[in-house]
């Protein structure tokens, strides 16, 4: 699911020649172990799926709202507030290495 959308906000990512896109960045590609290039992708994407978790590990507060977002040519995990729906176009920002839906 590659949707071309634009945002002035950028998300740090890494890209490999084999096609793999990693958010957050990885130094080596998890698939082929070649060195990845550090890139920035537009902070927008499409909601692939999400959940509101009421059972959370120690150190986290419930409810925990997380989504899986199609961004550029990969997927990232993002927190959200309020409501969300599958297929919705969302704008993202990166805060302290964590991705949030705006």
């Amino acid at each position: 699911m590659q949707q071309h959308c634009h945002s002035t906000r950028k998300i740090n990512a890494s890209k490999c020649d084999c096609g793999m896109l990693c958010i957050p960045q990885e130094i080596l590609c998890p698939v082929c172990r070649n060195k990845m290039k550090k890139i920035k992708v537009d902070g927008c994407g499409i909601v692939k799926t999400y959940t509101i978790a009421h059972v959370v590990p120690m150190g986290f507060t419930s409810p925990l709202k997380v989504a899986l977002i199609c961004i550029d040519e990969g997927l990232c995990i993002a927190y959200f507030d309020g409501k969300l729906s599958v297929g919705e176009r969302v704008y993202l920002e990166e805060k302290d290495g964590l991705i949030w839906i705006l």
Binding site: I52, A53, L68, G74, V86
Partner: protein
Amino acid sequence: MDVFINSMGMCRIGKKKGGFEEILCETVNEIDIPKKIDAIYVGSQNPWGFSSIDNLSARIPQYLGKSGVKCIRIENSSASGSTAFHQAFIAIKSGLYDSVLALGIEKMSSRKRNDVISLLSQVLEENERKMGLTPMSIAAMVCRLYMRKYGLKDDELAYIPVKSHENGSLNPKAQFQKRITIEDVLNSRTVAEPLRLLHCSPISDGCAMAVLSKMGDVKVMGIGHGTDLLTIRYRKKILSFRATKIAASEAYSMAKISPNDIDICEVHDAFSIMEIISLEDLRIFEEGSAGKMSAKGETSLNGKIPVNTSGGLKARGHPVGATGLCQIYEIFLQLTGNAEKRQVDGVKIGLTHNMGGFACSNTVTVLGK
């Protein structure tokens, strides 16, 4: 040279009073361990984390009164039990060993529930864990997407745990032996939307063991082991598990059978949606159809292909490192005509499917009469 299951044993699964030693003693009552056994292979996911126990390679033989036997622990997350069984198969097939005891054991109930959830989340990739994801919340995301893509309704999904408890009520060794209704499932509290409490397997203690050798009543026809990337967001597909598909292909090929030949199976229903997706990845049902077919009764005890007649991980219980051998125990009982009230007539070939991590390292085992 063929490899067979000679004898098996399993304790009652549940929250047990005793520790490893007591659990083993209960299990050993049912099995015939020969005087001469070449090795003991122990599957256990996290004895240190769940039970503050280390060095199973020395403990288990002593607890069994078999300190003279070489023993190793095999770890493959929640597929440790079936993987220990596979290693025993490989050892005998190689010609080096004549008989091996494969056992799976886990005691999870000594820890508080929150600790268990955190320990189980340790199987995930670091960033996914750092964001507070758990196997449950990942399964919930998969479930939402599956239900939307294939139009599976809440009351159709609820049929899976209802069936699990129906079968569990006929299994004297199941953790839960009380039936539940669709309404019970839909009224149970939400754990991670759209998953409810009754869609999820419990915290369990238990042990199951098998003696494998060159003769026995049940033949190990084929084994398979498939893998996938640890990191969920790096995978190409999330509604289908590559690890299951590869394991199934390998096992079917070794057993020289097709999915149509399977009469009965135990699949890894850690969460109800996993039973549905696994049946599709095993090619027992077509993609997108297993949920609806199950709701129609095709996988019930008297259905076309009975699935999880033991009660599955949901009702039989899920002592993580032991589960793979608990599944094999059920198929062993069914094939030898010892499943009592839940016996399915005429079963000749059975399959077990066990997942390690979040479908990172899965096994398939084909057993035949």
